[in-house]
């Protein structure tokens, strides 16, 4: 019996950790959550409601409408008239590709509560799912005018712009994110990638600076390390730079090469001659 209790608490704690980390490991959540709900519901206390919500969303992700429906019914019973549950019902409609019905659901939430950000963002998700990128971008821009601090929305917008090859605007979004999250190495690195993609000497130099910044924040970021190598190499090879700049960038590239070689020596898996590949890509 002790073993069962340990197993139960482990499962419950796993779900909590995934919730807190906002993990989208839906298959695992369904596996663990379904068992928890079916076998241990009585032990969960009030936690059960948030677990129903978590499992429902994961179930939608895995096309488990049966499980999603069960969770939704429990939540509807417990919280009649709740906006939060209404939103979940809307998500289920989205999963079933009933976009018009889902949209109506979110509109009814917004009628009662025009500041409901979740409903607004779901409506934008519908546009994205339907491939209506231009509209999604427009709506998301309008949303951000009102809710300028919504990091998730800024990042979503940067992704939409990247897919539309609108790198200037993607860069702008990432600049917002870097300003409010100066210690986030991923934003620096993504910004650097966008600058590199835009091309031209000025952008390459910016990209090199931000790859370097990303490395400063996290020296394990391999994308940033490779990015530093590539941007520095391209700058050094450019006919437009003076001898000083060239020399500096040759140094950066050499440093990066060294770091890359060291990193790969430790792994011993891909027996690629990294020197050769580095020579090739310059």
């Amino acid at each position: 019996v002790n073993v069962l209790i340990i197993v139960f608490t482990e499962m419950r704690d796993k779900l909590r950790k995934w919730r807190e980390d906002n993990h989208r490991n839906s298959e695992q959540i369904v596996d663990v959550g379904e068992e928890l709900i079916n076998e241990h519901a009585s032990k969960l206390g009030d936690d059960i409601w948030i677990i129903y919500e978590q499992v429902m969303i994961a179930a939608l992700d895995c096309s488990r409408d049966d499980l999603a429906w069960t969770c939704l019914q429990e939540l509807k019973k417990q919280f009649p008239g709740s906006q939060r549950v209404k939103r979940l019902a809307g998500m289920r409609l989205e999963a079933l590709e009933k976009y018009e019905d889902a949209s109506k659901q979110y509109d009814s939430i917004l009628q009662d509560d025009p500041t409901n950000t979740a409903a607004r963002k779901r409506k934008i998700s519908i546009l994205k799912a339907q491939g209506k990128s231009a509209e999604a971008i427009r709506e998301l821009n309008e949303y951000l005018e009102q809710f300028v601090g919504d990091q998730e929305a800024w990042h979503e917008l940067s992704e939409l712009y990247i897919n539309e090859h609108d790198y200037g605007k993607a860069a702008f979004c990432l600049e917002e994110l870097m300003m409010t999250n100066p210690h986030n190495h991923l934003y620096c690195e993504q910004y650097a990638e966008v600058k590199y993609t835009q091309g031209g000497l000025e952008n390459l130099e910016l990209s090199r600076k931000y790859f370097a910044q990303a490395l400063k924040l996290n020296n394990g970021n391999m994308r940033a390390l490779f990015g530093l190598y590539m941007s520095a190499s391209h700058i050094a090879a450019s006919p437009k730079v003076n001898a000083t700049v060239k020399k500096a960038n040759v140094k950066y590239a050499a440093w990066a090469t060294n770091q890359i070689n060291r990193a790969y020596q430790v792994t011993k898996t891909n027996q690629l001659p990294v020197e050769e590949l580095l020579l090739r890509s310059s």
Binding site: K128, A129, Q130, G131, E159, I162, N163, H165, Q190, A192, E193, V194, Y196, T197, G199, S207, M222, R223, F226, G227, M230, S231, A263, Y264, T267, T269, N270, L272, P273, E276, L277, R280, S281
Partner: protein, 205 residues
């Protein structure tokens, strides 16, 4: 134009790549260990990205690394595949065309393969793929009859088995490799599993 043969190994890994990242657009390179000329035999593939497909640095890096590996292993890059996140639209994106163009510079029979996400249900009967070839400067749809997948039923079965057993999570794409460089983007482990599941009579692997 010419005939294209797609091996079990290449198809299964491509398919699993799409399954591993169902919410993302994914892409990869198609390789051949056969000499140039005649039928294009796609014998293997390297899964590349599942994020930020249009951005240049990692794509360039991956292309270079795969190029080097191919030179060492007597393979050539003969094509490119992509599966779009939005399953209702399986047409090649600008970045797909760009990369395919680059490959075509070195390989004039290059193929561009789009995976049709909408047709990837468990009971699909035909390979959910659409192929393009380069005619003049444009990528045009290939005649379905010039595309061959030997032992299709067996191939499909192998892909299903790996999905069911959860072994598709063994697949490493270049993105995942950069997250953890101890992971092998040439997928030797998964290749061995696929070889195990293929019958000895299957000459593709």
């Amino acid at each position: 134009m010419g005939e294209v043969e797609l091996s079990c190994l290449a198809y299964v890994k491509m398919y699993l790549h799409g399954c591993l990242f169902p919410r993302c657009s994914v892409n990869g390179l198609l390789l051949s260990s056969s000499p140039a000329g005649g039928t294009v035999c796609v014998t293997d593939c390297v899964p590349l990205l599942h994020s930020h497909l249009p951005l240049a640095p990692i794509t360039q890096l991956a292309l270079t690394q795969v190029d080097v590996w191919c030179a060492q292993t007597q393979q050539r890059i003969v094509g490119y595949y992509q599966a779009n996140a939005c399953v209702s639209d399986n047409s090649p994106t600008p970045c797909a065309l760009k990369i395919a163009d680059k490959i075509a510079e070195q390989c004039n029979n290059a193929v561009l393969l789009m995976i049709d996400g909408g047709k990837m249900s468990p009971d699909y009967r035909v390979p959910p793929i659409v192929m393009y070839e380069r005619k003049d400067t444009r990528w045009t749809l290939k005649d379905k009859h010039t595309i061959m997948l030997r032992q299709w039923e067996e191939t499909r079965e192998i892909a299903s088995q790996l999905l069911d057993s959860g072994d598709h999570s063994l697949l490493v794409d270049f993105d995942s490799h950069l997250d953890d460089i101890t992971r092998d983007w040439t997928n030797q482990k998964l290749n061995a599993k696929i070889a195990e599941l293929s019958s000895p009579a299957n000459g593709n692997v």
